[in-house]
Symmetry: C2
Subunit: 501 residues, 2 copies
């Protein structure tokens, strides 16, 4: 079971396949430009590109990364003397950012130019006839006006000139949202690379995503500024209204969310492929949720938000699948903290700007469980070793739960000991005692170790598959809860046409 030494060139088959995929994507993109310019198709084609570009670039850049010191050894393999390139998530992130920037004109081209006579801040004053007219595509709001019926002051403009209002009301703002999302993602990439490079201490790096959330919060503040939430029906009689203004707390909520999501993916890590597969599952479920809004027979007010979300998720899936190929067991590259932060931030960005952050929480249940379960070690109640990844048994080739040893003289505080025994009783921990009832060792507090406690030793790839399947099932259940059961506590749901339109 030797680790394959990383090849740095594409094989002939790979070259042909990637070349063919790129050609198909170019063809689709050209057809998109010739036709009406359907941005969803363009996004799909660009995501195909993103896959091919990431796949090839990761292969090519391996030795460069190792030379620059971005390297690590795979501790869960028999022959682990080779260095593998680390921080390959940075390649994903940069390809992603380039693709998403190139994509901008597809949804936004021309809507704005026509509406504003070209920006108005040029040195030389232009006559209106000089302004390039171009095709009037109006791609983004899809000629479907979904303003609230009660926004009457804007409605009157609409009657005055529907085309003009359509463009100025919605698109410049959505462009600003789109750009702010890109800025947040670029920020997290920069900070993630800094983290991988400088090996920042755990306590400090926890707040890295907070910095990257600043552009998102700032532009939310400038752009929307709405901080009211809908109260569950059973709370409404007590508060006396349907909406409750959280004010500055809402920004706190969003910031906490920005900190949590990237970190929660970063701590559910340690075996080949798991960072990428969990991110792919979450992205696929979010995309599935978005698709529910697109293929409704009636126009839905949240369609734009979910289109917006798809535009960000599709290229993310493209780069992630390419990374997964290289990172899957036995891994030839590592993803680095950059990828985990980046993935978490993509989810935050689409869910905050698309206003479905509660849905994302439902998809992050395994991550939330893993975080809550980790708290005793993260906050120092139980000693936390540098690495908590499952223990590799070189004799069997299987992974086993890794453990924290307890010294005979340094037993836990009685209360903690009691809690540990309680957890062990509920099979939420493996605990080994000596004959005097002193704790010898406890398994480490991560979902991966717990899974191994439950299911017994298994090979690394099998563990990754089982956790991924669990993530998928929990996520599907979460979406079911969100769409079927939400009406029990809220008067309106996104899918209920009666109350939303």
């Amino acid at each position: 079971m030797a680790i394959p030494v990383a090849s740095t060139t594409l094989s002939r088959t790979e070259s042909i396949n990637l070349g063919a995929l790129s050609l198909v994507c170019v063809a689709v993109l050209v057809r998109t430009l010739e036709g009406d310019g359907e941005p969803l198709i363009a996004s799909l084609a660009l995501s195909g590109f993103a896959f091919a570009a990431t796949y090839a670039t990761i292969r090519w850049l391996g030795p460069t990364f190792i030379k620059a010191g971005l390297k690590g050894r795979d501790l869960s393999k028999v022959n682990n003397s080779h260095y593998l390139p680390e921080c390959m998530g940075a390649v994903c992130a940069i390809v992603y950012l380039l693709i998403i920037i190139v994509f901008i004109p597809f949804p936004f081209y021309k809507d704005i130019v026509v509406a504003t006579s070209g920006g108005g801040n040029r040195d030389v004053v232009m006559n209106v006839e000089f302004v390039e007219k171009g095709r009037l595509l109006h791609k983004f709001p899809h000629s479907k006006v979904c303003l609230s019926p009660s926004s009457s002051s804007i409605g009157s403009y609409k009657q005055y000139s529907p085309e003009y209002t359509l463009a100025t009301n919605k698109n410049p703002l959505q462009l600003a949202s789109f750009l702010s999302a890109i800025i947040s993602l670029q920020s997290i990439t920069l900070l993630g690379i800094g983290d991988d490079l400088f090996d920042i201490r755990w306590r400090h790096k926890f707040f890295i995503p907070a910095f990257a959330s600043i552009p998102l919060l700032i532009i939310y503040f400038v752009d929307f500024g709405v901080t009211s939430i809908v109260l569950p029906t059973f709370l409404q009689p007590y508060v006396g209204r349907e909406l409750f203004d959280l004010g500055i707390l809402y920004y706190g909520y969003m910031a906490a969310f920005c900190i949590f999501s990237p970190n929660s993916i970063n701590i559910l890590a340690g075996i080949n492929g798991i960072e990428v597969t969990q991110s792919i599952v979450i992205a696929l479920l979010l995309a599935f949720n978005d698709a529910l809004y697109l293929f409704t027979p009636y126009p839905h007010p949240a369609t734009d938000s979910h289109l917006f979300s798809l535009f960000f998720l599709l290229p993310f899936l493209g780069v992630s699948f390419a990374l997964l190929y290289h990172n899957w067991y036995p891994a030839r590259v590592f993803v680095g903290d950059t990828y985990c932060y980046f993935a978490g931030m993509v989810f935050v960005v689409v869910s905050i700007l698309g206003h479905f952050s509660k849905t994302l929480i439902l998809l992050l249940i395994p991550q939330i469980f893993n975080f809550v379960y980790s708290v005793p070690q993260l906050f120092g109640l139980v000693p936390c070793p540098r690495h908590r990844l499952p223990h590799f048994n070189a004799r069997t080739g299987l992974l086993e739960p890794s453990v924290t040893k307890w010294d005979k003289e340094k037993q836990p505080h009685p209360i903690i000991a009691k809690a540990l025994h309680l957890l062990a009783q509920f099979r939420l921990l493996r605990l080994k005692q000596d004959e005097d009832g002193r704790i010898e060792e406890t398994s480490n507090f991560t979902i991966l170790n717990l899974w191994l406690v439950w299911r017994g030793p298994m090979r690394e790839d099998r563990l990754a598959i089982e956790i991924t399947v669990m993530q998928t099932l929990v996520g599907l259940f979460g979406l079911f809860v969100r769409h079927r059961l939400a009406l029990l506590i809220f008067r309106e749901d996104n899918l209920s046409i009666r109350s939303a339109v």
Copy 2:
């Protein structure tokens, strides 16, 4: 003349001074928020902050950078065995980006929310009375409408509701421009760090800024799309009109500009402080040029462009002065390619989005000269060593022109030899011949070596000062040409109220 070993903590005096500066900036910022929210004052206060933050962070992070392999030795010093931290421009760039993101609400807050009932793409439909009203600041266009009188279709909206039109016509677009500028600057930072980390080959890294220009060009395309230029008066009779549409060539021009400006600063480098001082001079001259438009007694149509430009230049000056302190002779840190690229991109961004790229060209004359002068070596007509920085004479402690040696057997092509002799005759080269007339050595083709050929050996700091003074004088002359002589070849100038308003 020992190199001071980098201290990693701030001295007491430094702490007090930086603390006091930060306090003053906070006070000014709070007053700004209390009052009318004048964004120019806020920008100044944040730039002071940026200085303090950069100054302290560069000091603190030195050992971290060295540990991560970002280090280099100063070849122009007697005692050059110490490693100094390299790539400190990355710290500048990241502080700058954070500051400019935090700055966004000052010019843009509330203008947009009021105009759009809060974005319009929320899941739950809102009634207009729920939209948070806030203070109506209208900071950006300064309640001064500067649309062209001929844009009549927009004018009629303005009469309908001046407030609404003001906000939607101008601000969402300027916000998009602002954000696209940030994206370009983040891109160049990411790519610059990649360059410093991976030591990319010269031929490849030349095109790094091209990638960073993509967001700028894309958003220019989506946002303005105007590709016409004003023809000089003497050409107008031949073409038959005043404006000439360059079409796609205009994007080529902008891309070339994006590639040239960062690279031109990157190749005028090699002695302590020179990268930073030249950037500071250019930024100060651009800011001076901007100020010309702000303090006019009459409202000028380009005021917004130049306000926009100042908002980007002031924090840049803040971080650059802090970097200069650490990078000035004898340097305790190096700036890295990141800083040069970043600085060049700041200039490109403000001049393209502010539509004064021709002015920037006038300020880059020394860089253009240096590039043209370097061409023989860059394109391989004359052998190009890895480093062309001036030669340090350890005996005298002075810098001398560095040279390319010519082998007796490997003399240049006769035509090139003739050209070299010609250059030497015009004192544009130092050339050493043996008694048989064969070329023994020629000075390297950089402006720094040429300056040493002209002025004789001198100490490193003196060379930096002289080149900086030269840059300042040439730039001031360029601005004089731009404002006094432009009317000779163009019918209108930015400062001539008669024709522009």
